[in-house]
């Protein structure tokens, strides 16, 4: 299978006021690759991820998603966001909708999918996750792990080309982390392109093809998963790994 670039990032800079969070980042993400982003807090990981679907507007540089520069004038970002799934640290399920509505509202409203079809599709996903008895529950009635798995399904319902995960397990109780990571691993097996910001080192090593070390707004190391941990070059990565491992 030929490897296409799905997202290309060129010269990405992002500042909040005087604070420069991302400093001239250039990289690319290939189809069916799983890339993890690791680094100290405040290093710009989340900001980088949020720039990819323009939740944060880059100060300069470009995000090229399937040959379209998302930062260019006249681009309808809403159309492209449908193809870029995003999973948040705090789940962000729609609190005013039950699980079924959370899953079907976007496919029905945005893609014009029929209700029967959308609900059947949602049911298939829910059954695979063992969450079919939660169809009528509201987010407040679910555990963190359940919420996050539903949030992943909500993104999958749109059949995205790539999924972005912003610290998907950081807000979870320890005993629920496993169930969420298992879902992400399963997606990796199925060939979903994913970019994952995470603090779970073992998981990153297991699931990723490639790992980026983001520190001080720059990519300090960009290696295959095994090399990243076994043969780190950057002194900052070495000291970071010593602290966390």
């Amino acid at each position: 299978m030929e490897e296409h670039n799905i997202i290309k990032v060129e010269g990405l800079c992002k500042s909040f006021g005087d604070l420069q969070v991302l400093n001239d980042i250039t990289t690319e993400f290939k189809e069916k690759q799983v890339v993890s982003i690791i680094g100290p807090s405040g290093g710009g990981k989340s900001t980088f991820l949020r720039c990819l679907n323009l939740l944060e507007t880059p100060t300069s540089g470009s995000i090229i998603f399937r040959d379209v520069d998302l930062c260019a004038k006249g681009v309808d970002i809403n159309v492209h966001r449908q193809k870029i799934g995003m999973v948040f640290q705090h789940f962000n399920l729609f609190n005013n909708m039950n699980v079924m509505k959370n899953l079907t509202v976007a496919p029905m409203r945005i893609k014009g999918m029929e209700q029967d079809e959308a609900e059947a599709k949602a049911m298939t996903f829910l059954k695979r996750m063992g969450l079919e008895d939660k169809v009528t529950s509201y987010p407040s009635q679910l555990s963190g792990g359940q919420k996050q798995r539903i949030a992943i399904v909500r993104s999958l319902m749109m059949e995205p080309d790539v999924m972005l995960f912003d610290e998907p397990t950081s807000a979870l109780d320890p005993e629920m982390i496993g169930e969420v990571l298992d879902v992400i691993k399963q997606l990796a097996v199925e060939g979903m392109t994913m970019i994952i910001v995470t603090h779970e080192m073992r998981f990153a090593r297991e699931v990723s093809n490639r790992i980026l070390f983001l520190d001080g707004g720059r990519i300090d190391e960009d290696r295959s998963a095994a090399e990243f941990f076994d043969d780190p070059h950057s002194p900052r990565l070495i000291s970071f790994l010593q602290k966390v491992l």
Binding site: N53, L55, N78, V79, R81, Q82, I84, G85, M86, F88, H90, F91, N92, L93, F94, N95, N96, M97, V105, A106, R109, I110, Y138, S140, Q141, A151, R154, S155, M158
Partner: protein, 231 residues
């Protein structure tokens, strides 16, 4: 004659004055809140919109109205506007229509500013992540507002609007100074007839209290019902 006897006698003899006042007070309060909500919503939208001059205009309005006494605003509308040639029309079949209009307009202008803040804070109290999730899945800003943010904001806004209604009932007593026959005006009328100010004021206080107490109970009930809906 004891105090409570006096109250009983005054009520028995002059109750139409009080009841008529209650009716007018309720009409003014209801009209003011309804108009306040309609224009307050527009004002809140302006307050949050991206076009800076509109936003500044809304902020200036809200701050100014909330920072000046209702009494001054009322005088401004009732005495000031006619001086520059703006008069409220008289309608033959509704007595005192122009006075009523001035009262309602002043109260609405005032209420509008408070309602705008209630709505804005209601919307802004919805977690930012909700908007981010909606936008990231591909909904436009307007759709995200309508489908996700507003339904959640309403739960915060409705009870606060109820409180605004209670406040307006009380504040509306001020319109009696421009001769609108509300509860306070009726009370003053009865005082003038009987020279018994204390019992009359006691009656007025009780009637205002009944109005606000019933309103706030109803609001509390509504609040409870919405909470049971879901968190």
């Amino acid at each position: 004659m004891g105090f409570f006897e006096q109250i009983a006698v005054i009520l028995q003899r002059y109750y139409p004055y009080f009841l008529d006042g209650v009716k007018n007070t309720l009409i003014i309060a209801a009209m003011s809140v309804v108009l306040g909500v309609v224009f307050g919503t527009l004002m809140a939208i302006m307050r949050m919109c991206r076009i800076k001059p509109l936003r500044w205009l809304a902020i200036a309005y809200i701050e100014f109205v909330r920072g000046t006494p209702l009494m001054v605003q009322l005088m401004f509308i009732f005495y000031g506007l006619p001086m520059v040639g703006i008069e409220f029309p008289d309608v033959s079949f509704i007595p005192n229509f122009s006075r009523f209009m001035a009262g309602i307009v002043a109260m609405s202008i005032n209420s509008c500013a408070y309602v705008a803040e209630v709505i804005r804070s209601g919307i802004q109290s919805v977690d930012e992540g909700q908007m981010e999730a909606a936008r990231s899945i591909g909904f436009k800003y307007g759709e995200s507002m309508r489908l996700v943010i507003l339904p959640q904001a309403v739960r915060n806004i409705l009870p606060a609007l109820g409180n605004e209604f209670v406040t307006v009932i009380k504040e509306s007593s001020i319109v009696s100074v421009i001769g609108i026959s509300d509860l306070m005006y009726g009370t003053n009328g009865v005082i003038a007839l009987t020279y018994r100010s204390l019992p009359c004021l006691a009656i007025a206080a009780i009637m205002y209290f009944i109005l606000t107490f019933i309103s706030s109970r109803l609001i509390a009930k509504l609040e409870k019902r919405m909470k049971h809906g879901r968190a």
